[in-house]
Amino acid sequence: MAGTALRRRLTWQVATVAAVAEETASVRTIALDLPDWPGHLAGQHLDVRLTAEDGYRAERSYSIASAPGEAPAITVERLDDGEVSPYLTEELRRGDEIEVRGPIGGYFVWESANDSSPLLLVAGGSGIVPLRSILRHRDCSGSSLPARLLYSARSIADVIYRAELDDQGDGVTVIYTLTREQPPGWTGHSGRVDDALLAEVAWPARRQPLAFACGPTPFVETVAAGLVRLGYPPAAVKTERFGATGGH
C-alpha cells in the first residue's frame, strides 16, 4: 500500500465530480470519481489544477477527507480572495471535470490502526479535514485504539462534519473549543487552544501518544510547542500548517 501511495511519479488526471455536499456556509465536500486512483493513506493530499480559458493555471493542495479504501473526496473552505476555492465551492457541479494528481505526502499520515499509541488529534478550522480521514480510517479498520480530537472552531456553525463527529463510537472523544461565538447554554470550552486546555485534554505523555496537529500556522505552532512542554517527544507530534495562499 505504502509503495503505491508514496513512491510514484505523479501525473495529472481528470476527475469527475461525483457529488458535492455543503458542510457549513463556506465549506463543501467534493467527492471525486477517479478511475485510476491508486488508493491513499489517511492524512494525504491531492493537488487540484484549474486552467482558465486564457491558459492561466492555478494549483492548490487539499487534504483528502475520505478514509483509505473510500473514493477520494476533498473538503474545501471558500476564501473570499482565493483564486481556486471560490470556483470549487460555488461553481463546481456534479458531473464537472477537474484535473487532480495524487495521493501526495508521506509525513502527515497515520497508517497503523494496529498501533498501541493512543491518538491525539488537534484541529484548527479546516485543519479537521485530514484528521477526519484518520478517524474514519480508525473506524473502518475496526480499531479500538483510544482517540481524542480537540477541535477549535470560530463558532458551532463553523464546525465541519459536526453530525459525524457527534456520532463517534466507543473510544473516540471529541472536545470542541469555540473561539469567537458560543451558542446559548454552551458548556464546552471557549477561546483559543492554550497550554491549560492541552494539559486538560491531551493524553498524558507517559502513555506514549501519537499527536497530529493541523491548522493555520500560528495554531499549529502553539499546539506543537504546548505538547512538547507537556512532555511529548517532538517526533511524536506530527504537524501540518496551512494558510490562505496556496494552502488547503
Partner: protein
Amino acid sequence: MELDGNAIAGLLNDVFSTEMTTAVGTCAACGAISQVAECVVYLNAPGTVVRCRNCLGTLMVITQIRSMNCVDLRGLAWLEARQDA
C-alpha cells in the same frame, strides 16, 4: 505566508520523482537534521523557499522559469529520501 514542507509535496515530487516530505535533510548552516515536512516553507517568495526550522537558514529554493524547475540546494549539507516509502 509561512507554511511547512507538507505544502510542497507535489512540487517536490515534480523535482525528485518520489515522496520527499519524509526525506531527511541536514542544514548546511547549523547542522540541524529534520524531515522536509517539518521545515519552514514560503510559497510565492517569489519562488518556493524552504528554510531550516532551527536557524531559518535557506535550505532550498525552487523557481519555475519557462515551465522549468530551477532548484538550488546549496543550503543543504545532505538530503536523503526514505528508501522504504
